[in-house]
């Protein structure tokens, strides 16, 4: 026969989207933050990033090849994203073996044991991070002090508390906000914005993270609702308490630019797989994360709450998906 035609159902054209495109867009969006952390932590940051990404790739490959014995899809970029986010969640001086264990938990337990990409109910990188935080609390909370690449290296391998840690400690010790802010270890306002402070790799620069977030929103990889609702809730809630008692509760912008809030709101909570499907659902989810975060930060045992908040809300996602359906066309139609 001269020509064998293909038969398939419509549509016969496809947009240019693909899974790996989505994943590599996220990777691209993380580049500014990677640069900032490399600037502040130097080779340490590069080391952590490489170990995390490579071990995530390795575990994904090994599990797909030897345990699942299915097709190998490490090139789709999802393991790279998980590795990068995992690295962003740890201090730059974390021993390599802890990081490898974290990667195993991230890929092995949080992702592959549920069936791999698209099936995991929780954000894999966060599960890895929380696992490490609980198992290795000392290593996970000894934060190296940021020392910009071109600044004079006065001391080597000095660790210092994070801004949030300082705050928590100070409040617990009964100090007022003013006293805490005057602590010499406390990063100045501008430093908090650019990331010149101690903390995990990805918590550094709010500006770099926001830049990546805007890029992802522009590329339609994430919706603006989730990050916005989280940030807004945290800001509003912290603001209310600050107004009630400014000596005990710090001003809300402090909460926005310290800790992992930006990282969590922009990159972790928006993870496609573990976030809700509908716009209303996304609002609920974001507000929930914001509330839980600020509750943990103000009254919880940990100085930082965003990871727990996201994981808790991840658990609610199936329920949110079931209860908040998109607005159906022609249902409860507006007559005139």
């Amino acid at each position: 026969m001269m020509n064998q035609f293909t038969i398939s159902g419509s549509p016969h054209v496809h947009g240019e989207e693909s899974v790996s495109k989505v994943m590599y867009t996220v990777v691209l969006a993380l580049v500014p933050a990677v640069l900032v952390s490399s600037y502040f932590f130097g080779l340490d940051a590069v080391r952590v990033l490489l170990i995390a990404v490579l071990s995530c790739l390795f575990f994904e490959w090994a599990i797909q090849k030897y345990i699942i014995k299915g097709p190998i899809t490490i090139t789709d970029g999802s393991a790279v994203v998980a590795g990068l986010l995992l690295a962003f969640n740890v201090p730059a001086n974390l021993p390599w073996w802890i990081l490898v264990i974290g990667a195993l938990v991230t890929i092995g337990i949080a992702k592959m044991s549920f069936g791999g990409l698209g099936k995991n109910p929780f954000n894999p990188a966060l599960v890895g991070r929380v696992f490490m935080l609980i198992s290795f609390p000392v290593q996970m909370t000894s934060w190296p002090v940021a020392k910009p690449l071109f600044a004079d290296a006065v001391t080597d391998a000095v660790t210092g508390p994070t801004a949030l840690g300082l705050l928590k400690e100070g409040i617990d010790a009964g100090k007022t906000v003013e006293q805490i802010l005057s602590d010499p270890n406390m990063p100045a306002y501008l430093d908090r914005l650019t990331g010149n402070m101690s903390g995990s790799l990805g918590e550094m620069s709010a500006i770099a993270l926001l830049l990546g977030g805007l890029f992802m929103i522009w590329r339609k990889v994430i919706d603006w609702q989730v990050p916005f609702s989280i940030i807004f809730t945290v800001f509003a809630f912290a603001g209310i308490f600050h107004l009630i008692d400014p000596t005990y509760y710090i001003d809300p912008t402090f909460h926005l630019f310290t800790g992992g809030l930006m990282l969590g709101a922009i990159y972790m909570a928006t993870d496609m797989v573990s976030s809700p499907m509908t716009i209303t659902g996304k609002w609920i989810y974001g507000i929930g994360i914001g509330l839980i975060t600020i509750i943990i930060r103000l009254w919880g045992a940990y100085p930082e709450g965003i990871s727990f908040a996201i994981l808790i809300m991840n658990a609610f996602v199936p329920l949110i998906n079931n209860s908040f359906k998109p607005r159906r066309f022609g249902v409860k139609a507006v007559s005139k």
Partner: protein
């Protein structure tokens, strides 16, 4: 002993006791009274929950059996195709009834439009489900009645009894078939039929359900039934009927004489598990061809390539 420990033990112990008492009364109050025979019958059923009996699961079938025995004093018309006569006898014994022996059935694939017999004229690109492809077009080979080869029957089978042969692109039924009828329902084209297994597993059937005119059918598939009526004329037992250019062999009237197989010009009539025949040279040619295929897959009785 530590005071705290004691307190904890006492509290929990007390709580447990209270809960147990509550549970006991609740269980008494909401007890479901069921005919004990249902449990007994349920025990002898195969627990495949395949739905082949027409009831949703074995438990429902057991209830239906007991109900029928109570009301009608017979369980005729109810049959578990999976368990067959043995299971039905056991069930009848529990209910104190007799049961009629029934011929065991097996799924038969009435299409031989393999990749060689009905070559693909187009290329299908879509999900592997016959139900969808059936809505879309006539099929890669062009026969609107033929097997689409996407395996809805395979997916529907709970007994691992039907598999696609990648070479022919057709499904094949093996010994594990219990005639539950799931594949019959799953096939959007109605190709699969449950037929009696036959003595020594010998069966003769028309492996085609194409109702188009002979010429059209033959154009798409080399082994289509062209409705020539030769088999109809030759059959001494009136077991063959002709409808819409298609022959059908009634398995009950058929005495397995194999005359129809010989006269079929397109080899659309298949015979299974017969010894090789000796007469007539042109038939010998046929037989050798047919012999070779079951030999290739000796342990699984080849349904499609008689």
């Amino acid at each position: 002993m530590n005071e705290v420990l004691l307190f904890a033990l006492l509290t929990l112990g007390l709580l447990g006791t209270v809960a147990a008492v509550i549970l006991y009364f609740v269980a008494q109050k909401f007890k479901v009274i069921e005919d004990p025979k249902i449990d007994l019958v349920d025990d002898v059923l195969p627990k495949a929950n395949c739905g082949g009996c027409g009831f949703p699961g074995c438990r429902a079938f057991a209830e239906a059996l007991v109900k029928s025995a109570d009301v009608n004093k017979s369980i005729d018309g109810l049959n578990c195709p999976v368990g067959g006569n043995d299971v039905m006898k056991d069930a009848a014994a529990i209910l104190g009834l007799e049961v009629q022996e029934q011929d065991p059935l097996i799924a038969v694939i009435r299409c031989n439009g393999s990749k060689a017999n009905s070559p693909a004229k187009i290329d299908y690109d879509g999900p592997s489900t016959c139900a969808f492809a059936h809505n879309l077009y006539a099929g890669e080979g062009g026969c609107p009645h033929g097997c689409l080869g996407l395996g809805d029957c395979v997916a529907s089978c709970d007994f691992d009894a039907i598999h696609m042969n990648p070479e022919t692109g057709l499904p094949e039924v093996n010994d594990k078939c219990v005639a539950c009828g799931a594949c019959v329902k799953a096939c959007p084209r109605g190709i699969i039929e449950l037929r009696p297994k036959g003595k020594k597993d010998r069966r003769i059937f028309v492996s085609c359900i194409n109702e188009e005119k002979g010429g059209v059918a033959k154009k798409n598939c080399a082994v289509a039934c062209i409705g020539c009526s030769k088999c109809f004329k030759v059959c001494p037992f009136e077991a063959i009927t002709m409808n819409n250019n298609l022959a059908y062999i009634d398995p009950i009237k058929c005495k397995l004489c194999r005359k129809c197989v010989e006269v079929c010009p397109t080899d659309a009539i298949h015979e299974l598990n017969f010894p090789p025949r000796k007469k007539k040279p042109e038939v010998v040619e046929n037989t050798t061809e047919k012999e070779s295929v079951p030999a290739a897959s000796s342990d699984n009785k080849n349904e499609t390539q008689a």
